[in-house]
């Protein structure tokens, strides 16, 4: 499911994210809420977010080696780093969402 998609400024600042969640588990619910809030503050038009439920797409979890939930992966700009946890660690989350300012 992809949403909050906008073509404007895509060439320069587009950030594509995939958040792996485990159904409605507390950590996953919290991560989704924390991520939405951060995206709103950062400018939602810059972000493309896909949410994958590991229980529905075990194949994708396996392909991306997602052992723990929640896991946030950045596809564009590509990064080998990934964030794990409920994204309550604000500094790590914002650094991850601003790849150009903080060389993440």
């Amino acid at each position: 499911v992809s949403f909050r998609r906008t073509e404007r400024d895509a060439a320069v600042a587009m950030v594509k994210l995939v958040l792996f969640v485990a159904g409605e588990s507390p950590n996953s619910v919290a991560a989704l809420a924390n991520l939405h809030r951060a995206i709103e503050l950062e400018g939602s038009e810059r972000f493309e977010l896909e949410i994958v439920d590991v229980f529905e797409r075990a194949d994708r979890a396996l392909a991306e080696h997602v052992l723990v939930t929640p896991t946030l992966i950045r596809i564009v700009p590509p990064s080998v780093r990934r964030l794990v946890g409920d994204l309550s660690a604000t500094i790590e989350l914002y650094a991850f969402l601003r790849p150009r300012t903080l060389s993440h």
Binding site: V54, A58, L67, T69, R81, V84
Partner: protein, 576 residues
């Protein structure tokens, strides 16, 4: 958990299924604990590979310690159908977090569980291994989270139909788990400890089944070795062993000796032939094989430090045509260089030969070669295991042992084997008046009214024979009986000396039996102490669980009237 008798899933590991009385309880989890290098991963992987290759049960391996490629590399060096099994019947997962993972809050292992759920369904897996569960601690910064996630995995296993092995490192050796992992010993259906200690210069590995819910097992420490074939246990089921012993006898190859032993070597027994070099021990053992081959029985000759061809040529000079029997295929033969490998490795090589040729008769010449390969204690252990192994298969065996002098300083492996062997024949030289004669004595022959008299052993082109010895003035006269009376006193003293040494040997044996009984009682005592300690922990864990339940009850009572509050809190992202 119920305690109904469980179905069993065989591990396919030689001897271990006997110890487990069939295998691991199907659909349940067994914890395998041990120090680093104790063989946990190999045991677990062997269980999976055998499951996939031999029992039609696909498996999944999750390692919390190794990458997929290093697992492949490690296991491909073993003589298993590992590569063939990989893919369709065996899936390997790296359970470690990717290196570039940044911690940003609380997380759980639901991702792994989803992956495993998916793999189990798509591959129809029946077996699973979680290898190095303690590696989870690296993820979860504290013990409470580790404990919670370990519990999550164990609960998932319990709810599944998978037969599981979960390996856990025990830094304090067998049984000494990290405190936060101790509960796993109670949560799991089975607990197996692996350990090792250094004996002489060799590793002596042991396995102990601590518990196995709903299934029986053989208690105590079981020795095993690790080779390219994986783990192998020298365990021989005592019940099986006793079933294999029959009242049938095998010819010794010397008619007179058959009579002395009341029919020959009983089937399924072990006979030790000891004596100093040159006393025809190999010839006696060879005569037994030749007699068996003439009666269409299959034999196996295992020699040390002398090529088989050389042994056969020597035996031809006394009319024993082992070379012909070997060529005809009823006699298998192999020889090893004692110093080239450890006693354990020799043991395994012999076990493999036995499995390959399935002989009815076996000769090891000499068994004392084990000592060259690792020292006295390990030789004792290995010899004992070998005796158990061949007895369990109903093989009739003759071992030779080189001693330095007449019933004097025996090498320890022969002295140990002399205790567990059913028959013990000693051959010695009697030098007198320029004649050097061989004297044969049956020191013991279990379950037979054997003759205790000394006989003279005669070797000729026609073969072997025993002749009565003559007594004169209380001495045993060998050879031409030209003993002169002027040596009477000296001769009498010699006989007394021989008798005393024999009595000493028997006392030694009695002492060892008592010592073994004492050791058994000691280990029973420590097992009882361990059981008590575990029960204490169990009671403590039960108390804790009750406290948890109470806390949960209180929490739910508070939450009931206002479910909205909970949802709002969660949405604010402050949960867990």
């Amino acid at each position: 958990m119920s305690t109904r008798p469980a179905l069993l899933s065989p591990t396919g590991i030689a001897g271990l299924d006997d110890i487990l009385r069939g295998g691991l309880p199907t659909g349940r989890a067994t914890i395998v604990a041990g120090g680093p290098g104790a063989g946990k991963s190999i045991l677990a992987m062997q269980f999976l590979v055998n499951g996939a290759a031999r029992f039609g049960e696909p498996g999944v391996m999750v390692s919390f310690e190794e990458s997929e490629s290093s697992m492949r590399a490690n296991f491909s060096t073993l003589d298993w159908p590992f590569d063939e099994a990989l893919g369709k019947h065996l899936v390997v997962i790296d359970g470690r977090l990717p290196e570039d993972t940044v911690d940003a809050g609380t997380f759980d292992l639901r991702g792994l569980i989803a992956i495993l759920d998916g793999l189990v369904k798509s591959h129809g897996a029946k077996r699973i291994v979680l290898d190095g569960l303690d590696g989870l601690f690296v993820y979860a910064r504290d013990e409470a989270i580790s404990r919670r996630e370990v519990r999550r995995l164990l609960n998932w296993l319990a709810a599944s139909d998978l037969t599981a092995i979960v390996t856990v490192k025990a830094p304090g050796g067998a049984g000494g788990l990290e405190p936060y992992l101790e509960f796993t010993q109670f949560a799991a259906d089975g607990v197996v400890n692996l350990g090792y200690h250094l004996t002489e210069r060799l590793l002596y590995r042991t396995l102990q089944v601590v518990k196995m819910r709903g299934a029986s097992f053989v208690s105590g420490e079981h020795a095993f070795v690790i080779s390219r074939q994986g783990l192998a246990f020298a365990y021989a089921d005592a019940a099986k062993a006793s079933m294999q012993v029959s009242s049938e006898h095998h010819a010794t190859g010397i008619e007179r000796l058959d009579r002395m032993l009341r029919g020959g070597y009983r089937q399924g027994t072990v006979t030790l032939i000891s004596g100093p070099p040159g006393t025809s021990k190999t010839t006696l053992a060879g005569a037994f094989l030749a007699a068996g081959c003439e009666r269409n029985q299959s034999g196996l000759f295992v020699g040390f430090d002398e090529p088989v061809e050389q042994v056969f040529m020597d035996l031809r000079s006394v009319g024993l045509r082992l070379g012909d029997f070997h060529a005809a295929g009823c006699l298998a033969a192999a020889s090893f260089n004692a110093g080239f490998a450890s006693a354990d490795e020799h043991f395994l090589a012999i076990v493999r030969l036995i499995e390959l040729h399935r002989p009815q008769l076996l000769v090891i010449d000499p068994l004392s070669a084990f000592e060259k390969a690792g020292g006295n204690r390990i030789a004792d252990i290995v010899s004992e295991r070998l005796v158990n192994f061949i007895k369990a298969r109903g093989i009739t065996a003759v071992f030779t042992a080189v001693t330095d002098s007449d019933l004097g300083e025996r090498e320890s492996s022969s002295s140990r084997v002399s205790t567990i062997a059913d028959n013990w024949i000693h051959v010695s030289f009697a030098v007198r008046h320029g004649e050097r004669n061989r004297a044969l004595t049956i020191v013991k022959a279990r379950g037979t009214g054997h003759s205790n008299q000394m006989r003279e052993l005669i070797l000729s082109d026609g073969g072997l024979d025993l002749k009565d010895v003559y007594y004169a003035q209380g001495d045993v006269l060998l050879g031409t009986a030209r003993l002169e009376k002027e040596h009477q006193e000296a001769a009498e003293e010699r006989l007394r000396d021989v008798d005393a040494r024999r009595a000493l040997a028997l006392l030694d044996e009695r002492y060892r039996v008592l010592e073994a009984q004492l050791e058994l009682t000691r280990s029973e005592l420590s097992a009882a102490a361990e059981e008590r300690r575990q029960m204490e922990l169990h009671v403590a864990a039960a108390d804790l669980a009750r406290a948890d339940d109470q806390a949960e009850l209180l929490a739910s009572r508070r939450a009931d009237p206002e479910p909205q509050t909970v949802a709002v809190t969660a949405a604010k992202g402050t949960s867990s």
